[in-house]
Amino acid sequence: MSHRELDDMLGTKWRKPRFVPNPYLRWTLTVGFIAYLIAAYMTIDVNWARVYEGLDRGAQFVLAFTKPDFVSRAGDIWSGLLESVVMTVAASVVGILISIPIGLGAARNIAPMPIYLICRGIVAISRALQEIIVAILLVAIFGFGPLAGFLTLSFATIGFLSKLLAEDIESMDKVQAEAIRASGARWMQWINYGVQPQVMPRLVGLSMYRIDINFRESAILGLVGAGGIGATLNTAFDRYEYDTAAAILLLIIGIVMALEYLSGIIRARVQ
């Protein structure tokens, strides 16, 4: 019987089954997508004369990187950087501390349904609101300065870290945690012994990554008045002091790279 079927199949071509089996649907989708893409590009309106004028300013800006001016605004740069670092560290610590319980609550495999829904709700709100929007709102409430920036970054950290922590907990090895539960451990002991060791490297890695993001964000938040190095950068642009702006950008790049290097070392150690 099975040989009969085999004989029919021998010599016939074989190919991987299509992702969309229906050929009409497949071609409609393909052609539709390409048509949409062409139409979309055609709506982008480029003013070439304006681009030509702008090239000059762009070149100036790029050239400024060859002679960055760290000196003439050294005081402003220094106080801006300091403010950014303070904002970053404070917001990261507060954000991470709040993220951990919310992350536990947002993991389906360890949290009961009502708590899960509340925590996922918090995560969703935090992730839906972009930093700049939150910062504009908080600047309106608390006035210009680093307090608004600090609160914005803490809020953003919660959405980011809780979500990723929860996902890591959801994909942990169930049996290791089960073994701890079987010993008669309390809930807190179960988290401490069965769950925490499994997610710790990722938690540390994500936290380092978030510190890195928070520092970069702190440079942006200054543009809407939330303090930090961004405020200094904004001023430099407003005054067409591209050499000072270049100096600030170089410092930001340097610090981000240093943080990246540091986080690499730390992550390797906690593996």
């Binding site: 090895d173 089960e178 073994a179 539960r181 079987a182 451990a185 401490n192 060791p197 499994q198």
Partner: protein, 264 residues
């Protein structure tokens, strides 16, 4: 000492994993639970310490019905039952010592366990157990640095440090080579004898079960189809448990191996 009465487990999908199991395990008896994959062996063991919630029936451990306990009382009851797992289930990023001491979690408070400040008596017992299984020198190694056999020994220590009355052993040798498998089985049965512990050992290696335990229970489709001496497992019985196969080789091999064992 352990008594299952009409134990039933029906999963949400409607699968009946256990159909009215009745089983009596006297104090100090080691029994092997055999049966094909999906027969409900794992479910049965997990129902006893309620890692899986039974649907109905009674689980009497020294006349306490475990199936009706609230969460606090259940934690206390779980201390009486040590569990040993198929893939060892050690917490890989913790040290050997932390893994062994985690067996005491039911006895110590949160802060003690969080700060790893266990009572000296627990620490001494952990050292004693590690020495008994020959792993004292590994105490501060991380669990993921150990070989399979070593990990399972740590798993055994973790179960024993609970000072249990009963061991629940889920496929202890499934991921081990034949020689290590025997060493582990021998270790478990010896330790049970030394401490007068009862044990239920899930195992799919019939020959291995016959070699080490005095009582075999066969499970098929969630029902007990054999309960008796290991020598009573005739080809007919094995066919009843597992389905049609040529069993002569399996059974003969046992005898051969016993002779080799004796010659060693």
């Amino acid at each position: 000492m352990l008594r299952l009465k009409k134990l039933v487990k029906t999963y949400k999908t409607g699968d009946q994993a256990l159909k009215s199991i009745d089983l009596d395990v006297p104090k100090g008896q080691v029994l092997a639970l055999i049966g094909p994959s999906g027969a409900g062996k794992s479910t049965m063991i997990r129902c006893i310490n309620r890692l899986v919630e039974p649907t109905s029936g009674e689980i009497l451990l020294d006349d306490v019905d475990l199936s009706k306990l609230g969460s606090g009382a259940l934690r206390k009851a779980r201390r009486e039952m040590g569990m040993i797992f198929q893939e060892y289930a050690l917490v890989e990023r913790l040290t050997v010592m932390e893994n062994v001491l985690s067996g005491r979690l039911g006895y110590v408070g949160f802060w003690r366990s969080f700060l790893r400040k266990y009572p000296q008596s627990d620490v001494d017992e952990a050292f004693r157990l590690l020495d008994r299984v020959g792993l004292l020198h590994m105490a501060d190694k991380r669990a993921d640095e150990l070989s399979g056999g070593q990990r399972q020994r740590v798993g055994i220590c973790r179960a024993l440090i609970q000072n249990p009355k009963l061991l629940l052993v889920d496929e202890p040798t499934a991921s081990l080579d034949p020689k290590t498998s025997r060493q582990i089985m021998r270790l478990i049965t010896e330790l049970c004898q030394e401490r007068g512990l009862a044990a239920i050992i899930n195992i799919h290696d019939v020959a291995l079960a016959q070699m080490f335990v005095p009582r075999v229970v066969g499970l098929r489709f969630g029902e007990i189809v054999y309960d008796g001496l290991p020598t009573g497992l005739t080809p007919d019985k094995l066919t009843e448990i597992y389905g049609e196969e040529d069993w002569e080789a399996t059974i003969e091999k046992v005898d051969d191996e016993d002779e080799i064992e004796a010659a060693e």
